[in-house]
C-alpha cells in the first residue's frame, strides 16, 4: 500500500516536472525540471526493486549529463526564450500522434501484465531482479553485441562532437 502511494506521488512529480520543463521560458529552469524528472524516475526504479538501475540513473543522468546541460547553459549565458504558438503541422499531427502512442504503450503494458507479452523477448522480471549481477549477466551474455555496438555509436557521437567543435580555419596548434 505504502509502495503504491509513493509510486503514485513520484509518478505525479515526474509528470509535473516534465510539464514544467515545457512551460518554463528560461533554459536553466527547464534543465532543472529535467533533473527533477530524472530523480523521480530513479525513485520509481527503486520502488520497483531495481536498486542498481536507480543508482545508475542518478549518477549518470542527474549527476553527469544534466550537470553538462547546466554547464552549457551557464557557458552560453542563454537568456529567456521567446514563446511562439508553434506550427500548424505540430498541432495537427503532434497531439493525435502523442495520444495514439500513449494508447499503444498503455495497451502493450496492460497486456503484458496478464503474462501474454514479454517486452522485446525479455522474460517478465521476477521480484528480485535488478541487482548489478542480474543486469551485467544480461548485458554481457545475452545482449553483448547490442551493448558493444551502442558503445561504438557513442564513440562516433563523440568524434562527431570533436569534429564540429574543432574549427578547421583556426591556426594550427590552437584548438578552437
Amino acid at each position: 500500500m505504502l509502495h503504491l502511494i509513493l509510486f503514485s506521488v513520484f509518478g505525479l512529480i515526474c509528470v509535473a516536472g516534465a510539464v514544467n520543463l515545457l512551460l518554463q521560458t528560461h533554459p536553466i529552469n527547464s534543465a532543472l525540471s529535467l533533473v527533477v524528472v530524472m530523480g523521480s524516475l530513479a525513485v520509481e526504479y527503486l520502488l520497483l526493486g531495481a536498486e542498481f538501475v536507480a543508482a545508475v540513473q542518478v549518477i549518470v543522468y542527474a549527476g553527469a549529463i544534466m550537470v553538462l546541460f547546466v554547464f552549457v547553459i551557464m557557458l552560453l549565458n542563454a537568456g529567456e526564450e521567446e514563446r511562439t504558438p508553434g506550427s500548424r503541422v505540430s498541432w495537427l499531427l503532434g497531439i493525435p500522434g502523442v495520444l495514439a502512442l500513449t494508447v499503444i504503450v498503455c495497451w502493450a503494458l496492460l497486456r503484458s501484465e496478464t503474462g501474454t507479452v514479454g517486452l522485446g523477448g525479455v522474460p517478465q522480471a521476477d521480484k528480485a531482479f535488478g541487482g548489478a549481477r542480474d543486469l551485467s549477466e544480461l548485458l554481457f551474455h545475452q545482449f553483448l553485441l547490442p551493448f558493444e555496438v551502442t558503445s561504438i555509436l557513442v564513440l562516433i557521437a563523440i568524434m562527431g562532437a570533436v569534429v564540429l567543435a574543432a574549427r578547421p580555419d583556426s591556426e594550427p596548434g590552437r584548438q578552437g
Binding site: 536498486e51 543508482a55 542527474a62 550537470v67 553538462l68 547546466v70 549565458n77 541487482g131
Partner: protein
C-alpha cells in the same frame, strides 16, 4: 523489532548522527585553523575558551546574527536554493555510511548506521554527484563574473575528477564483490601473513587506487591544491562571492561535511573500516570500533589540512591535464590489472 521501536530507534540514530556530523564539521574548521596556524608559526584561535575550543560556537552565533544580504542583481529562487542544495546533499550521504558493528542494548539490536542498503557505495556516489548543482547554480544565479567563473570551474572540475574517483573504486569492488559498504568492510576482516591486516590498500595493488582516490577526492571537495573554484587571488571567493551570513556558512558546512564523507569512504574501502583491537567488558567491545573508525577519519582530515598547509594551487590547465591525462589512464590501468588478477586467481 516491531515497527514502533524501529521508528523510535531510527529517529534517535538520525538525530544523533546528524548532531555528531555537524559538531565534527564545526571542529574540523577549528582543527584546520589551529593546525594551519601552527604550520605558519601562528597560534590560530586562542581567545574563545581554552585553546580557542569555543571558537566554532562563536562563529556559528556570528553567522546567524549577521545581516543576510541579497544583492539586487541575483536570480532569487536559485540564489536561495543553491546553498540548501549544497548542504542537503552533503549531509544526506552520511545516511548509508556504517560506523561500526552492531549495538545491543537489552532486547534491541541495531547497526551503527542509519540504513544498510546493498548498493551503499553507489548511493554515496550518486548523492555526492548531485552536490555539484549547489555550486553550479550558486555561480550562475549570483549574476556576477567571479561567481560564474567559479561555478563553471567547479562543475567542470567535479565532473572530470568524478570519473577518476569512480574508476579507482572499481578495483576494490571487484575484490570485494559487493556494493554494500558493510559487506566491503567485512571482506577486509582478518590478516594475511603473520601481522599484515587484510585491508584492500595492501591487496592486489590497490595502493595505486588509494592514491588516485585521495587525489580525486581532494579535487571533488574543492580543496587545495585543487581549490580553483574559489581561488581568492583571482576570483575573490569564487562561487560564493555574493553570499553572506548563514547562506555562506552553508557552503562552508557542505565543504567540510563532504570532506568527512570522503574520509569515511576511504576508511571503509581501503583501510578496513572500524577494524582494530577490541578488549574489555561487553559495552567497551561494542564501542571501541567506533573509536578506531573515528581515528582513521581524524588522520584523513589531518592529512587534508597538512596538504593545505604545504602545497600551492594548480593552474587551471594543469588541473584539467592532470585529471584527464594522468589520473584517468592510471585508474583504467589499475582497473584492468585488478580484473586480470582476480580472473587469473579465479
Amino acid at each position: 523489532m516491531d515497527i514502533i521501536t524501529f521508528i523510535i530507534v531510527s529517529v534517535i540514530k538520525i538525530a544523533l548522527i546528524l548532531f555528531i556530523l555537524l559538531t565534527a564539521v564545526a571542529y574540523t574548521v577549528w582543527l584546520e585553523r589551529k593546525v594551519v596556524g601552527r604550520m605558519q608559526n601562528r597560534w590560530g584561535p586562542t581567545r574563545v575558551g581554552p585553546f580557542g575550543l569555543l571558537q566554532p560556537a562563536a562563529d556559528g552565533v556570528k553567522f546567524l546574527f549577521k545581516e543576510d544580504l541579497t544583492p539586487p542583481h541575483v536570480y532569487k529562487p536559485l540564489y536561495v536554493a543553491a546553498p540548501m542544495i549544497a548542504v542537503i546533499f552533503a549531509v544526506t550521504s552520511i545516511a548509508v555510511i556504517p560506523f561500526g558493528n552492531w549495538l545491543n542494548v537489552g532486547k534491541i539490536s541495531t547497526p551503527f548506521q542509519i540504513t544498510d542498503v546493498n548498493i551503499g557505495l553507489l548511493v554515496v556516489l550518486g548523492i555526492t554527484s548531485l552536490g555539484v548543482y549547489g555550486v553550479a547554480l550558486s555561480g550562475w544565479s549570483s549574476n556576477s563574473k567571479y561567481s560564474l567563473l567559479g561555478g563553471l570551474r567547479a562543475s567542470a572540475q567535479m565532473v572530470s575528477y568524478e570519473i577518476a574517483l569512480g574508476l579507482s573504486l572499481v578495483g576494490v569492488l571487484i575484490l570485494a564483490g559487493t556494493f554494500s559498504l558493510r559487506g566491503i568492510v567485512e571482506a577486509q576482516a582478518g590478516h594475511f601473513g603473520p601481522w599484515i591486516p587484510n585491508w584492500f590498500i595492501f591487496r592486489g595493488g590497490q595502493i595505486v587506487a588509494f592514491f588516485i582516490y585521495l587525489t580525486a577526492a581532494y579535487a571533488e571537495t574543492n580543496r587545495i591544491p585543487f581549490d580553483l573554484p574559489e581561488a581568492e587571488t583571482e576570483l575573490v571567493a569564487g562561487y560564493h562571492t555574493e553570499y553572506s551570513a548563514m547562506k555562506f556558512a552553508m557552503f562552508f558546512m557542505a565543504e567540510y561535511a563532504n570532506m568527512i564523507t570522503v574520509a569515511c569512504l576511504a576508511s571503509l574501502l581501503f583501510l578496513g573500516g572500524w577494524s582494530g583491537p577490541v578488549f574489555g567488558p561487553d559495552w567497551l567491545q561494542q564501542l571501541l570500533p567506533l573509536l578506531w573508525f573515528a581515528l582513521r577519519i581524524f588522520v584523513f582530515l589531518f592529512i587534508y589540512i597538512w596538504v593545505r598547509g604545504t602545497l600551492p594551487r594548480f593552474r587551471y590547465d594543469q588541473l584539467m591535464a592532470f585529471g584527464w591525462k594522468f589520473l584517468l589512464p592510471i585508474a583504467i590501468a589499475n582497473l584492468v590489472v585488478t580484473a586480470i588478477f582476480v580472473a587469473w586467481k579465479g
